[in-house]
């Protein structure tokens, strides 16, 4: 039987002629998933990369080399800047285009209504683009995913199946870490088979956290189809104009500093004083200051100056923030939720300061200093002053 849904579409992001790393990470994960899908179901569904922009032919070719079976590209000067409305409509056109589907796989093209699966990047562009595209396609979306599995799922669900047992074949299990980092929630996007309100919900889509999956090695021998799509752009949508772009130096710099000192809920006994302690420690180490995700939710009554400087998303280390491979990482009062660990585990030398020896952060530390930061940090500062001076004299 011909199927209405086929293939996994990956929406690619790029800047200045280069891929964002997450784009190739998504293509790599898509390749692995569809290879095992095709083996398991004796099928031949494809990984289709979608790329929009101006002068993107060369990038299109590279996507095949990084693992895509086919690339559909739209090349137009009006697509140079990412404008949400235009991009959403063009992606909607591409994934429902019978002509390009025919080039990807002629035998099924006329039956296919929608992609089976779709991936976007969970970043400043992809989060919003995925949201609007999935309204356009009237289907579901899970955000900030870091694990994917395809399974046949047998379930009885009051709303989805009207209480009877049904098998949802080829279901994408989308795992997302919750804000605490301690829980993993699996999201499914399922058709409504309940006779009371039947509805098809495809594609099953998600946005994927950058830095989680491995890209494949580039292989210039890999072959695939490169298909040009000519988009229809509504003149009305061109009234939204990008007037200029300015590169900014963020007030928080996790790229250059070789040391990061981060803090979490362990500051709670005296947040104001403890943040000042951490500031002093960071100053001695010439370090940038990072925080755990719960800190960005402003849990403490502290002075406005410290609050607006530190309790902000821009300082978050973790899956909802920055990933670092600092040479020296000091985690003070950090419990070590996965959310945070994912952001710091590639660091060089890791020192934890925590009174609780069972805290998961211990597993990520080279040295675990058991004690309260109020007691430990002053000793550290004193000692650093002595030893760093020696380094400077030399």
């Amino acid at each position: 039987m011909a199927e209405k849904y086929r293939h996994l579409y990956v929406v690619i992001e790029h800047e200045d002629g280069e891929f964002l790393p997450v784009s190739l990470e998504m293509v790599g994960e898509a390749r692995r998933l569809m290879d095992s899908f095709n083996t398991k179901y004796s099928s031949n569904e494809k990984v289709v990369a979608v790329i929009l922009g101006h002068n993107v032919q060369d990038l299109s070719k590279q996507l095949i080399e990084y693992g895509a079976d086919a690339v559909v590209y739209a090349d137009n000067p009006e697509l140079k800047d990412v404008r949400n409305t235009i991009y959403t409509k063009v992606i909607g056109q591409i994934v429902q285009d019978t002509k390009s589907l025919g080039e990807i796989e002629p035998e099924y093209a006329s039956d296919i209504k929608r992609p089976r699966y779709m991936f976007f990047a969970a970043d400043s562009i992809g989060r919003h683009l995925s949201s609007t595209t999935l309204v356009e396609l009237e289907s579901g979306l899970a955000s900030d995913i870091n694990k994917l599995v395809i399974e046949d799922i047998e379930m009885s669900h009051q709303q989805k199946t009207g209480g009877t047992k049904e098998t949802y074949a080829k279901t994408l299990e989308m795992y997302r870490p919750d804000f605490s980092g301690f829980l993993w929630t699996t999201i499914l996007c399922l058709d409504n088979r309940n006779p009371a309100f039947k509805r098809d919900y495809h594609p099953q889509s998600c946005s994927i956290i950058p830095g989680v999956f491995e890209p494949l090695k580039r292989d210039s021998l890999r072959e695939g189809k490169i298909i040009e799509f000519t988009p229809t752009i509504d003149p009305q949508d061109l009234k939204v104009k990008v007037l200029g772009r300015e590169i900014i130096k963020s007030e928080v710099d996790f790229e250059t500093p070789r040391t990061i000192v981060s803090f979490g809920r362990g500051i709670k006994d005296d947040p104001e004083q403890n943040i000042k302690l951490i500031e002093n420690l960071a100053k001695e180490l010439n370090a940038e200051i990072g925080v755990t995700l719960p800190m960005s939710k402003k849990p403490y009554q502290i002075s406005q100056a410290l609050d607006s400087k530190y309790m902000i998303p821009a300082r978050v280390i973790g899956t909802s923030g920055h990933k670092t491979s600092a040479m020296l990482y000091v985690a003070a009062g950090v419990s070590g939720a996965m959310q945070h660990v994912m952001g710091m585990k590639d660091s060089g030398f890791v020192v934890g300061i925590n009174p609780d020896e069972d805290a998961p952060i211990k597993n990520e530390c080279d040295v675990f200093i058991k004690g309260r930061m109020e007691d430990v940090i002053p000793l550290l500062i004193e000692e650093i002053k002595k030893q760093i001076q020696i380094v400077e004299v030399q």
């Binding site: 790393p21 609007t132 999935l134 919750d178 699996t186 009234k239 040479m327 000692e383 650093i384």
Partner: protein, 292 residues
């Protein structure tokens, strides 16, 4: 030159502030014992709306979907924004909705507000759900131009154009501030770093005047408050709540403890001699970097 109508969509969220938030022993949020409040990102969106009130004499409306106790969030947002219309969309039929089912309720709610909206604001994301999808999905359903990550904006009331600065952060690239221009109506999701700037004396006077008005209004918020159920809103019941939600939460599990990637040397933090050794190791780690 027409006036400006602004809507804000907000959310009642767990209050993560110390003393109000409660965590289970395993580190997860204890929802039953945690109090609720206006979400911090919703509050920033309300500040952005108030900027429109001060600068352009805009009329503000606020909408939220939630349980009856969400009137608290509406009152808090009114105190910030000086809104004169507070709408709560509340019905058992809306419960359990994912972002698509929620966006449908908000779309109908916004279209049912007293005035036709020129700008709708939402926060960056909810602090409990964290998807950040509801804003852009509501925008697309309304047919409004969506502008995300906005850190400042201005409106030209004559040309009916909005100008906005957006903060774009992409993996592996330096952050960029992009300036965009779009015709009204627009839907703006506000970046956490948004700030309102009131530069002139007359702006600051208007700020004080409306702030005072906001306090008075919030004291009598019930005079501005309306509650709508599904029938009163006239929503299509198959597009909201569970039937209108493509996604379900299939399971929630504890993230498996990662196997120790390093074996930590545990030292006593009160022993200066041990601290001395740690610092010399830290120094070695940094020295290796310098040589490289």
């Amino acid at each position: 030159m027409g006036g400006l109508n602004i809507a804000v969509i907000i959310k009642l969220e767990p209050d993560f502030s110390e003393g109000n938030v409660s965590y289970n022993p395993d580190g997860t949020l204890n929802r039953a014992e945690t109090k609720n409040t206006l979400g911090p990102h919703s509050a920033i969106a309300a500040h952005a709306a108030f900027f429109g009130r001060v600068m352009y004499d805009a009329e503000i409306s606020i909408g939220t979907m939630g349980p009856p106790i969400a009137d608290l969030a509406l009152q808090q947002a009114q105190q910030i924004s000086d809104a004169e219309e507070l709408c709560l969309y509340s019905d058992r039929l809306f419960a359990g909705a994912d972002t698509l089912g929620t966006a449908e309720v908000l779309r109908v709610g916004i279209e049912k507000m007293q005035e036709k909206m020129d700008i709708v604001f939402s926060g960056h994301r909810a602090s409990d759900g964290e998807t950040g999808q509801t804003g852009p999905q509501t925008a697309w359903k309304l047919g409004f131009t969506f502008l995300g990550n906005v850190i400042s904006y201005s409106v030209d009331l004559e040309t009916r154009m909005v100008r906005a600065k957006r903060l774009i952060s992409l993996q592996g690239f330096p952050s960029v501030i992009e300036e965009v221009e779009a015709p009204l109506p627009v839907f703006i999701s506000i970046d956490p770093t948004y700030k309102s700037n009131y530069n002139t004396v007359s702006q600051r006077l208007a700020f004080q005047k409306y702030q005072k008005e906001a306090t008075q209004r919030a004291e009598n918020y019930k005079d501005y408050f309306k509650i709508f159920n599904a029938k009163e809103l006239g929503v299509d019941e198959t597009l909201v709540g569970l039937p209108g939600s493509p996604t379900i939460v299939y399971k929630v599990e504890r993230v498996p403890k990662s196997t120790a990637t390093r074996s930590a040397e545990v030292i006593d933090g009160s022993d200066p001699e041990q601290i001395r050794k740690v610092v010399s190791k830290m120094k070695e780690a940094l020295a290796a970097m310098v040589i490289k």
